[in-house]
Structure formats: C-alpha cells, structure tokens
C-alpha cells in the first residue's frame, strides 16, 4: 500500500533523511517514533509529495512519486500543527473536502457529516460554529483529526495525534485510530512520542534515528527490546547513546 525506498532529504547542508526505506501493507498500522528533529514530519511530507525527496522513490496507492492532489482521494493527513483554515468555521474545516470536487455534498448533509466526525473525536456540536482561533491547542488537534478522517480515506497519516491532549482524550483518540484500522481496514502511519499510542495503535513500530530507520518490529518487540537506543528512547532515560543536545 505504501512503499518508501531509499528516501534522502536535505535542507541546505542539513541532511535530515539519509536513506529511509519501509513498507506498510494494506490494513496495517505503523507507528513511527524517534527523537525531536530527526525528520519524522519531513518523512510524512515526502510520502505525501509536499516535499520532494532528493533521492529515492515513494509509492502510495499504486501511484509512483505521487503529487498531493492525486493522493487526496486516498490519503487523509493530520498535520503536527493541525493546519486548520483560519478563515473557515470548525465544521467547514472538517467538511472541506466533502463540499468540493466532483462528488460534492450539499451544505446541510456536509454539516451533518462534519458533526458526526467531530463527535468521534470528542468535540461537542457547540464548537462546530467556532473559528479555529477560538479553540485550544488540543481542540484544534482533534478538529484536524476529524478533517483527516472526514472523507473516510483508505490511508491515514497522523502527525502526533495525541500531543497536547489530556490522558482521557488521548485514550479516545488512540481507540479511534485503532478502530479505523481494525474495523474499516484503513492503513495508518502514526508519528508519536506517546508510548500509550505506541501500545494501543501499533501493529508495527519503526524508529527513525540519525536519518535512517534504525529499528523495526512489532509493538511488543519494541517494548521488550534490549537495544540500547530503543530502550533509552522508550523509557525516556537521559543517559544512553542518544545525545540530549541536538
């Protein structure tokens, strides 16, 4: 479903990705972990075609080197900063895709659909008519999530879906992602620093470290691993092979 092969990406002299390769099968949930600034968000943008890799090839949903608009029907994306449209109220953000394009919905049913998605991310209907600037960070994140799943795309990318959420809502979101993968058969790539997300959402875990996928395996293997880099990261220890100054 998703295949990345030898992705390289540098910004000027800064080499962020230096040969990332992986595959995600249909209906599988991959969780990507890795230190802050290691290039996880950049990797997702390379997959989506928002950044063009300097080298390497991306294949998603049968498309090679896809451009973002070609993927729109296949992929939903939650951005790290939510990236909600300031000029539109919450429900129109969620229904954005539904109200445009050849198969566009009328306003009333699109609003209904948006309210339903908002309910699934724990947002009460009263917030539907607010503007993004009036929401808290965690609320923006959840609206972004609702927007990503609104079109029920078969592939989903989540960039830190539980960052900024309280533990209860984080559990709601983890359960939602798991449900989308298990019940609707979606394929998901989730970036997270939240070990509960890793436990609850991952079929497979990949760790990005020094520009490459340093480690891949199942969630259980990741939690039980005695690899020094992986354990330092998962347990959040200060001393170990990963430097704290980066």
């Amino acid at each position: 479903m998703i295949r990345a092969q030898d992705i390289h990406k540098a910004f000027g002299p800064k080499r962020v990705l230096t040969g990332v390769s992986f595959e995600v099968a249909r209906g599988e949930s991959l969780v990507v972990i890795g230190g802050s600034g290691t290039g996880k968000s950049v990797l997702l943008k390379c997959l989506l075609g928002l950044e063009s890799p300097d080298r390497g090839e991306v294949m998603i949903a049968g498309l090679t080197r896809p451009r973002p608009h070609e993927l729109a029907a296949h992929v939903g994306m939650l951005f790290q900063g939510a990236a909600l449209f300031d000029s539109l109220p919450v429900w129109q953000n969620v229904a954005f895709r539904l109200m445009r394009g050849p198969a566009r919905m009328a306003r009333a049913p699109a609003r209904e659909a948006a309210l339903e998605k908002l309910a699934r991310v724990g947002m009460a209907p009263e917030s539907a008519d607010l503007y993004p600037a009036e929401l808290s960070g965690g609320m923006q994140k959840r609206v972004g999530l609702a927007r990503a799943i609104a079109g029920e795309p078969p592939i989903l990318f989540f960039d830190e879906p539980t960052a900024g959420l309280d533990p209860i809502l984080a559990a709601v979101i983890n359960a939602l992602i798991r449900e989308i993968v298990t019940e609707m058969g979606a394929t998901a790539v989730t970036i997270t620093h939240d070990m509960r997300t890793l436990r609850d959402v991952a079929d497979r875990v990949a760790m990005l470290h020094e520009g490459r996928l340093y480690w891949q395996g199942t969630a259980a293997e990741a939690l039980a691993s005695d690899d020094p880099v992986l354990t330092q990261f998962i347990q959040g220890r200060i001393d170990g092979p990963i430097p704290t100054l980066r």
């Binding site: 943008k45 608009h69 729109a72 994306m77 990236a83 449209f85 895709r97 445009r100």
Partner: protein, 261 residues
C-alpha cells in the same frame, strides 16, 4: 584576487539573482493567468474577495479622492490665476483627477491596504502549513487563493477608481464653490463639457491594471513567504513596496501609450 574581477563577479551575481527573481515573478503571473480560465472556479471565494478588496476599500479610496480633489483645485487655481485663466480650474481638476490622481492614488491606497493583507494572509497560511493542507485536500492554492483575489482586484479597482473620480471632482467642486468663489452650476457644466470619454476610460483601464498588479504582488510574496513571523513580515513589506513601484511605473507606461503623440 584582482579587485576589479571580484567587483565584476559580484555585480554579475547580483544581476543573475535579480533576473532569476524577475523570471520567477513573471512565471508566477503567467501561471496565475492560466488558472483564471481553467476550472474549477471558486465563486464563493470570489464573492468574498470582492467584498474584502472592493467594498471595504471604498472609504479609503473615497477619502483619498476627496482631499486630493480639493487640494488639486486649490493648486490649479493658484497656477491659473497667474495667467488669468481661472476658468480652467474645473476642467483641469477633473482631467487631473480622472486621468492620473484617481487611479494612481487609489491604486497606491489599495496597494497599502490589499497587497499587505493578501501577502500576510497567504504567508501565514503558508507558514502554518495551511497551504500544504489545502493541497492534500485536492484544492490547488493557485485556484482557491490566488485566482479569486486577482480576479476580484482586477474587477473592483476600476469601480473604485470611478467612485474616486466622482468624489474627487466633488472635492474640487466644494473647494471651488466655497473657497474660490465659483458658481456651482457653472463649475459642474465646465467639468462635464470638457471631460471626454477617453479621459475617464483610460483611468478605468489603469485601475484594472493596478488592481491586477496589487493582487499579484500580494499573492506572489505570500506564496513565497519565508518561515515564521519574520518571513511573513518581510513578505508583506516587499509586496507593498513592489506593488507601489509597479503601479507608478505601469502608470507612466500606460500614460505614454494612451496620450503621447
């Protein structure tokens, strides 16, 4: 290294950079134009922008024209009195207003108001990844953001200029009647009899060109904004400065084209 060679090298590099920048700007303009004629069209966005760019600019353009028309009448009176040609005040005020000052000052005011807000809005959308989000939602920012703004500004500016012309002439009229002792009906008759169709029409054409340039600058620098608040600030400033300079130079070129010979 030889200092002369070094200097030549530096000049060459800046010329190359400058030409590259001009090339990108022109390419962007051509791309934007090509998107104006290809569907999908976003009618709602266009309507919103017509309100933003056209309707909400009326007070600024109107006030500018009012005071300019008044000052123009005073100056022309001062000048023409030296030749005992005071009778020319109404017609020359009107011509100055509709041919030059209406479109140019209106354009500059709209550049300050609209190029800045377009650049800041699109630039903020860029740095907060909203442009990326648009693209992943199958919406081309050139069509959804750029095209409606360019069309709205190009359509709204001539209307703003026409309103500004009328208010500017009114400003000249009220100064003429109240301060310079003209007879009201005579002032108006003089204005109307002298103004030709092309005087007004040329100003409206200028307005359309200026509106296009304003929106183009706003969109271009917004879409190419650097990162962070500083990047957006820089983009906004550059958009206003370049829009103003393009308006003044385009005005000269259009005036040459319309009225020389």
């Amino acid at each position: 290294m030889n200092p002369i060679l070094a200097a030549l090298g530096a000049i060459g590099r800046s010329v190359a950079t400058g030409l590259g920048a001009v090339g990108r700007f022109v390419t962007f303009a051509a791309l934007a134009l090509s998107h104006l004629v290809r569907p999908p069209f976003y009618g709602r966005e266009l309507a919103l922008q017509l309100v933003q760019i056209g309707w909400l600019s009326l007070p600024v353009v109107g006030l500018t024209a009012l005071f300019t028309g008044g000052a123009l009448a005073l100056q022309i009176y001062a000048g023409s009195a030296r030749f005992n040609a005071e009778f020319a005040v109404p017609s020359i005020t009107a011509i100055g207003m509709v041919r030059e000052l209406g479109p140019v000052l209106g354009g500059l005011m709209v550049a300050a108001r609209v190029a800045s807000s377009i650049a800041a809005e699109i630039g903020t959308m860029k740095v907060s990844e909203q442009i990326d989000a648009l693209r992943t939602l199958a919406t081309d920012p050139m069509k959804y953001l750029v095209a409606p703004r360019i069309v709205a500004a190009t359509l709204a500016m001539p209307v703003l200029v026409a309103v500004g012309d009328a208010i500017g002439i009114l400003g000249g009229y009220s100064v003429g009647v109240n301060r310079l002792g003209f007879d009201g009906p005579t002032y108006l008759r003089n204005t109307m009899d002298f103004l030709e169709f092309w005087d007004v029409a040329s100003g409206l054409v200028k307005g359309a060109v200026f509106g296009f340039l304003v929106a183009l600058c706003g969109c271009y620098f917004g879409m190419h904004s650097g990162r962070g608040a500083q990047g957006v600030g820089e983009a906004t400033k550059t958009a206003v400065v370049l829009a103003s300079i393009l308006i003044l130079s385009a005005n000269y070129i259009l005036t040459e084209a319309f009225f020389s010979a």
